[in-house]
Symmetry: C2
Subunit: 136 residues, 2 copies
DNA sequence: TAATACCCTACTTGTTTAGTAGGATAACAA
DNA sequence: TTGTTATCCTACTAAACAAGTAGGGTATTA
Protein backbone atom coordinates (compact mmCIF):
# COMPACT_ATOMS: atom_id res chain seq x y z
CA UNK A 1 0.00 0.00 0.00
CA UNK A 2 1.02 3.54 -0.76
CA UNK A 3 1.52 5.56 2.40
CA UNK A 4 -0.49 8.73 2.99
CA UNK A 5 2.80 10.55 3.21
CA UNK A 6 3.65 9.67 -0.39
CA UNK A 7 0.12 10.29 -1.58
CA UNK A 8 0.00 13.73 0.02
CA UNK A 9 3.53 14.55 -1.11
CA UNK A 10 2.67 13.73 -4.71
CA UNK A 11 -0.52 15.76 -4.54
CA UNK A 12 1.35 18.72 -3.14
CA UNK A 13 4.01 18.52 -5.84
CA UNK A 14 1.28 18.32 -8.45
CA UNK A 15 -0.49 21.30 -6.91
CA UNK A 16 2.70 23.35 -7.07
CA UNK A 17 3.41 22.05 -10.55
CA UNK A 18 0.24 23.42 -12.11
CA UNK A 19 0.89 26.97 -10.88
CA UNK A 20 2.05 29.03 -13.81
CA UNK A 21 4.08 31.54 -11.85
CA UNK A 22 6.83 30.80 -9.34
CA UNK A 23 5.09 32.60 -6.49
CA UNK A 24 5.30 30.68 -3.18
CA UNK A 25 2.17 28.80 -2.15
CA UNK A 26 1.29 28.41 1.50
CA UNK A 27 0.92 25.06 3.23
CA UNK A 28 -2.55 26.07 4.37
CA UNK A 29 -3.75 26.55 0.81
CA UNK A 30 -2.47 23.18 -0.38
CA UNK A 31 -3.81 21.43 2.71
CA UNK A 32 -7.25 22.88 2.23
CA UNK A 33 -7.47 22.32 -1.51
CA UNK A 34 -6.22 18.75 -1.31
CA UNK A 35 -7.95 17.74 1.93
CA UNK A 36 -4.78 17.09 3.88
CA UNK A 37 -4.06 17.65 7.57
CA UNK A 38 -2.04 20.84 7.60
CA UNK A 39 0.41 19.79 10.27
CA UNK A 40 1.09 16.48 8.58
CA UNK A 41 1.59 18.17 5.23
CA UNK A 42 3.98 20.57 6.90
CA UNK A 43 6.37 17.76 7.75
CA UNK A 44 6.08 16.24 4.30
CA UNK A 45 6.89 19.50 2.54
CA UNK A 46 9.80 19.97 4.89
CA UNK A 47 11.31 16.68 3.81
CA UNK A 48 10.70 17.51 0.15
CA UNK A 49 12.56 20.74 0.68
CA UNK A 50 15.45 19.01 2.43
CA UNK A 51 15.78 16.60 -0.44
CA UNK A 52 15.98 19.35 -3.00
CA UNK A 53 12.58 19.34 -4.66
CA UNK A 54 11.17 22.47 -3.08
CA UNK A 55 12.32 25.89 -2.08
CA UNK A 56 10.65 27.88 0.70
CA UNK A 57 10.18 31.40 1.86
CA UNK A 58 9.31 32.40 5.40
CA UNK A 59 7.10 35.17 6.68
CA UNK A 60 4.24 36.98 5.03
CA UNK A 61 3.83 36.05 1.40
CA UNK A 62 5.99 33.01 2.04
CA UNK A 63 5.37 29.37 1.17
CA UNK A 64 6.75 26.64 -1.03
CA UNK A 65 7.63 26.47 -4.71
CA UNK A 66 9.20 23.96 -7.08
CA UNK A 67 12.94 24.30 -7.65
CA UNK A 68 12.73 22.59 -11.02
CA UNK A 69 10.18 22.47 -13.81
CA UNK A 70 7.75 19.53 -13.70
CA UNK A 71 9.42 17.89 -16.71
CA UNK A 72 12.66 17.69 -14.74
CA UNK A 73 11.16 16.00 -11.69
CA UNK A 74 11.47 12.24 -12.04
CA UNK A 75 9.15 9.90 -10.18
CA UNK A 76 12.10 7.65 -9.37
CA UNK A 77 13.55 10.39 -7.18
CA UNK A 78 10.24 11.46 -5.68
CA UNK A 79 9.26 7.91 -4.75
CA UNK A 80 12.63 7.12 -3.19
CA UNK A 81 12.36 10.17 -0.94
CA UNK A 82 8.70 9.78 0.02
CA UNK A 83 8.12 6.03 -0.03
CA UNK A 84 11.64 4.65 0.34
CA UNK A 85 13.28 1.94 -1.77
CA UNK A 86 11.47 0.98 -4.97
CA UNK A 87 12.43 -2.68 -4.54
CA UNK A 88 10.22 -4.84 -2.36
CA UNK A 89 13.20 -6.71 -0.91
CA UNK A 90 16.63 -5.30 -0.07
CA UNK A 91 18.42 -8.07 -2.00
CA UNK A 92 17.24 -6.63 -5.33
CA UNK A 93 17.65 -2.99 -4.43
CA UNK A 94 19.96 -0.82 -6.52
CA UNK A 95 20.33 1.95 -3.96
CA UNK A 96 19.75 0.10 -0.71
CA UNK A 97 21.19 -3.36 -1.41
CA UNK A 98 21.41 -5.75 1.51
CA UNK A 99 21.88 -9.49 1.54
CA UNK A 100 19.09 -11.64 3.04
CA UNK A 101 20.39 -13.26 6.19
CA UNK A 102 18.21 -16.34 5.74
CA UNK A 103 18.93 -16.96 2.06
CA UNK A 104 22.11 -18.91 1.27
CA UNK A 105 22.06 -18.47 -2.51
CA UNK A 106 20.57 -15.40 -4.15
CA UNK A 107 20.81 -16.79 -7.66
CA UNK A 108 18.75 -19.84 -6.71
CA UNK A 109 16.15 -17.93 -4.69
CA UNK A 110 12.71 -17.87 -6.24
CA UNK A 111 11.66 -14.78 -4.32
CA UNK A 112 14.74 -12.98 -5.57
CA UNK A 113 13.90 -13.91 -9.14
CA UNK A 114 10.33 -12.68 -8.93
CA UNK A 115 11.23 -9.48 -7.11
CA UNK A 116 13.87 -8.65 -9.72
CA UNK A 117 11.21 -8.68 -12.39
CA UNK A 118 8.90 -6.58 -10.26
CA UNK A 119 11.63 -4.08 -9.53
CA UNK A 120 12.45 -3.68 -13.20
CA UNK A 121 8.81 -3.20 -14.09
CA UNK A 122 8.38 -0.51 -11.46
CA UNK A 123 11.64 1.21 -12.30
CA UNK A 124 10.69 1.46 -15.94
CA UNK A 125 7.52 3.28 -14.95
CA UNK A 126 9.12 5.63 -12.45
CA UNK A 127 12.12 6.39 -14.66
CA UNK A 128 9.96 7.28 -17.60
CA UNK A 129 7.47 9.41 -15.72
CA UNK A 130 7.94 12.99 -14.61
CA UNK A 131 5.74 15.28 -12.58
CA UNK A 132 4.65 16.86 -15.85
CA UNK A 133 3.24 13.53 -17.03
CA UNK A 134 0.85 13.19 -14.13
CA UNK A 135 -0.52 16.72 -13.96
CA UNK A 136 -3.38 17.19 -16.43
CA UNK B 1 8.26 -3.88 1.39
CA UNK B 2 7.40 -7.50 0.87
CA UNK B 3 6.05 -9.08 4.05
CA UNK B 4 7.78 -12.10 5.56
CA UNK B 5 4.51 -13.92 5.16
CA UNK B 6 4.63 -13.56 1.39
CA UNK B 7 8.34 -14.29 1.25
CA UNK B 8 7.96 -17.48 3.27
CA UNK B 9 4.84 -18.50 1.40
CA UNK B 10 6.60 -18.17 -1.95
CA UNK B 11 9.60 -20.11 -0.67
CA UNK B 12 7.36 -22.87 0.58
CA UNK B 13 5.49 -23.08 -2.72
CA UNK B 14 8.81 -23.21 -4.54
CA UNK B 15 10.05 -25.92 -2.21
CA UNK B 16 6.97 -28.00 -2.89
CA UNK B 17 7.21 -27.21 -6.59
CA UNK B 18 10.63 -28.74 -7.08
CA UNK B 19 9.60 -32.08 -5.57
CA UNK B 20 9.17 -34.54 -8.40
CA UNK B 21 6.64 -36.80 -6.69
CA UNK B 22 3.36 -35.75 -5.10
CA UNK B 23 4.28 -37.12 -1.66
CA UNK B 24 3.27 -34.78 1.18
CA UNK B 25 6.09 -32.72 2.69
CA UNK B 26 6.00 -31.84 6.38
CA UNK B 27 5.99 -28.27 7.65
CA UNK B 28 9.03 -29.07 9.78
CA UNK B 29 11.10 -30.01 6.74
CA UNK B 30 10.23 -26.85 4.81
CA UNK B 31 10.77 -24.68 7.87
CA UNK B 32 14.21 -26.15 8.50
CA UNK B 33 15.38 -26.09 4.89
CA UNK B 34 14.21 -22.54 4.28
CA UNK B 35 15.07 -21.06 7.69
CA UNK B 36 11.51 -20.21 8.64
CA UNK B 37 9.86 -20.24 12.06
CA UNK B 38 7.83 -23.45 12.02
CA UNK B 39 4.80 -22.07 13.81
CA UNK B 40 4.65 -19.04 11.56
CA UNK B 41 5.00 -21.18 8.46
CA UNK B 42 2.19 -23.35 9.76
CA UNK B 43 -0.27 -20.48 9.60
CA UNK B 44 0.94 -19.45 6.15
CA UNK B 45 0.52 -22.93 4.71
CA UNK B 46 -2.91 -23.10 6.28
CA UNK B 47 -4.00 -20.01 4.39
CA UNK B 48 -2.50 -21.34 1.16
CA UNK B 49 -4.51 -24.49 1.65
CA UNK B 50 -7.71 -22.58 2.35
CA UNK B 51 -7.23 -20.58 -0.82
CA UNK B 52 -6.83 -23.69 -2.94
CA UNK B 53 -3.12 -23.86 -3.69
CA UNK B 54 -2.22 -26.70 -1.37
CA UNK B 55 -3.66 -29.99 -0.24
CA UNK B 56 -2.84 -31.53 3.09
CA UNK B 57 -2.74 -34.86 4.83
CA UNK B 58 -2.90 -35.36 8.58
CA UNK B 59 -1.15 -37.89 10.76
CA UNK B 60 2.05 -39.82 10.25
CA UNK B 61 3.43 -39.40 6.74
CA UNK B 62 1.23 -36.36 6.34
CA UNK B 63 2.11 -32.90 5.14
CA UNK B 64 1.41 -30.47 2.31
CA UNK B 65 1.49 -30.85 -1.45
CA UNK B 66 0.66 -28.71 -4.48
CA UNK B 67 -2.82 -29.17 -5.93
CA UNK B 68 -1.71 -27.95 -9.36
CA UNK B 69 1.48 -28.17 -11.37
CA UNK B 70 3.87 -25.21 -11.05
CA UNK B 71 3.07 -24.02 -14.59
CA UNK B 72 -0.56 -23.61 -13.57
CA UNK B 73 0.14 -21.50 -10.49
CA UNK B 74 0.00 -17.82 -11.43
CA UNK B 75 1.83 -15.22 -9.38
CA UNK B 76 -1.19 -12.93 -9.66
CA UNK B 77 -3.20 -15.36 -7.56
CA UNK B 78 -0.42 -16.16 -5.13
CA UNK B 79 0.38 -12.52 -4.48
CA UNK B 80 -3.25 -11.57 -3.97
CA UNK B 81 -3.64 -14.25 -1.31
CA UNK B 82 -0.36 -13.68 0.48
CA UNK B 83 0.30 -9.97 0.08
CA UNK B 84 -3.16 -8.61 -0.65
CA UNK B 85 -4.17 -6.27 -3.48
CA UNK B 86 -1.59 -5.72 -6.21
CA UNK B 87 -2.55 -2.06 -6.56
CA UNK B 88 -0.93 0.41 -4.22
CA UNK B 89 -4.15 2.40 -3.82
CA UNK B 90 -7.72 1.06 -3.70
CA UNK B 91 -8.91 3.50 -6.38
CA UNK B 92 -6.93 1.64 -9.07
CA UNK B 93 -7.62 -1.85 -7.80
CA UNK B 94 -9.36 -4.33 -10.09
CA UNK B 95 -10.41 -6.73 -7.35
CA UNK B 96 -10.64 -4.44 -4.34
CA UNK B 97 -11.80 -1.14 -5.85
CA UNK B 98 -12.73 1.63 -3.46
CA UNK B 99 -13.14 5.34 -4.04
CA UNK B 100 -10.80 7.70 -2.22
CA UNK B 101 -12.84 9.74 0.24
CA UNK B 102 -10.56 12.76 -0.07
CA UNK B 103 -10.30 12.84 -3.86
CA UNK B 104 -13.16 14.60 -5.70
CA UNK B 105 -12.12 13.65 -9.25
CA UNK B 106 -10.30 10.42 -10.01
CA UNK B 107 -9.62 11.31 -13.62
CA UNK B 108 -7.83 14.49 -12.59
CA UNK B 109 -5.86 12.93 -9.73
CA UNK B 110 -2.14 12.72 -10.35
CA UNK B 111 -1.67 9.96 -7.81
CA UNK B 112 -4.35 7.94 -9.55
CA UNK B 113 -2.61 8.40 -12.89
CA UNK B 114 0.76 7.27 -11.60
CA UNK B 115 -0.62 4.35 -9.65
CA UNK B 116 -2.52 3.12 -12.69
CA UNK B 117 0.74 2.81 -14.58
CA UNK B 118 2.39 1.08 -11.66
CA UNK B 119 -0.49 -1.34 -11.31
CA UNK B 120 -0.34 -2.26 -14.99
CA UNK B 121 3.40 -2.79 -14.84
CA UNK B 122 3.10 -5.08 -11.84
CA UNK B 123 0.13 -6.95 -13.24
CA UNK B 124 1.97 -7.70 -16.44
CA UNK B 125 4.75 -9.30 -14.43
CA UNK B 126 2.50 -11.30 -12.12
CA UNK B 127 0.16 -12.40 -14.90
CA UNK B 128 3.00 -13.67 -17.04
CA UNK B 129 4.88 -15.47 -14.31
CA UNK B 130 4.06 -18.87 -12.88
CA UNK B 131 5.62 -20.82 -10.05
CA UNK B 132 7.48 -22.83 -12.69
CA UNK B 133 9.22 -19.68 -13.90
CA UNK B 134 10.79 -18.89 -10.55
CA UNK B 135 11.98 -22.34 -9.52
CA UNK B 136 15.42 -23.24 -10.92
C1' DT C 1 -3.71 -46.82 21.60
C1' DA C 2 0.28 -44.20 21.10
C1' DA C 3 2.63 -41.29 18.09
C1' DT C 4 2.56 -38.11 14.41
C1' DA C 5 1.40 -33.99 12.09
C1' DC C 6 -1.93 -30.86 10.67
C1' DC C 7 -5.81 -27.58 12.58
C1' DC C 8 -7.29 -23.53 15.03
C1' DT C 9 -7.71 -19.62 18.34
C1' DA C 10 -5.82 -16.33 21.07
C1' DC C 11 -2.18 -13.69 22.80
C1' DT C 12 2.19 -10.81 22.64
C1' DT C 13 5.80 -7.78 21.22
C1' DG C 14 7.87 -4.51 18.29
C1' DT C 15 7.55 -1.33 14.50
C1' DT C 16 5.38 1.81 11.51
C1' DT C 17 1.85 5.10 10.25
C1' DA C 18 -0.56 9.11 10.67
C1' DG C 19 -1.00 12.19 12.85
C1' DT C 20 -0.87 16.33 17.30
C1' DA C 21 1.14 19.73 20.32
C1' DG C 22 3.82 23.43 21.09
C1' DG C 23 6.96 26.42 20.48
C1' DA C 24 11.38 28.73 17.78
C1' DT C 25 12.80 31.39 13.94
C1' DA C 26 12.74 34.34 9.96
C1' DA C 27 10.55 37.87 7.00
C1' DC C 28 7.58 41.45 6.07
C1' DA C 29 4.64 45.57 7.08
C1' DA C 30 2.91 49.25 9.90
C1' DT D 1 10.39 48.46 16.62
C1' DT D 2 6.69 45.67 17.02
C1' DG D 3 3.08 42.73 15.56
C1' DT D 4 1.77 39.37 12.20
C1' DT D 5 2.60 35.83 9.14
C1' DA D 6 4.35 31.49 7.87
C1' DT D 7 7.95 28.20 7.84
C1' DC D 8 11.03 25.31 10.97
C1' DC D 9 11.80 21.72 14.29
C1' DT D 10 11.34 18.39 18.19
C1' DA D 11 8.75 15.42 20.73
C1' DC D 12 4.82 12.87 21.82
C1' DT D 13 0.79 9.59 20.94
C1' DA D 14 -2.99 6.40 19.36
C1' DA D 15 -3.97 2.92 16.31
C1' DA D 16 -2.88 -0.51 13.14
C1' DC D 17 -0.04 -4.05 11.43
C1' DA D 18 3.74 -7.57 11.26
C1' DA D 19 5.82 -11.37 12.96
C1' DG D 20 5.75 -14.32 15.65
C1' DT D 21 4.33 -17.63 20.36
C1' DA D 22 1.55 -20.55 23.19
C1' DG D 23 -1.33 -24.12 23.78
C1' DG D 24 -4.09 -27.01 22.89
C1' DG D 25 -7.68 -29.97 19.43
C1' DT D 26 -8.33 -33.38 15.70
C1' DA D 27 -7.48 -36.78 12.21
C1' DT D 28 -4.48 -40.50 10.50
C1' DT D 29 -1.43 -44.17 10.67
C1' DA D 30 1.35 -47.94 12.69
Amino acid sequence: MLSKKTKYGLKALAYLGVQNDKKPIQIAEIAEQENISQKFLESILLSLRKSGFLGSKKGKGGGYYLLKTPTEILMTDVMRVLEGPISMVPCVSLNFYEKCDDCPDEAACSVHKLMLMVRDANLSVYRNTTLADIIQ
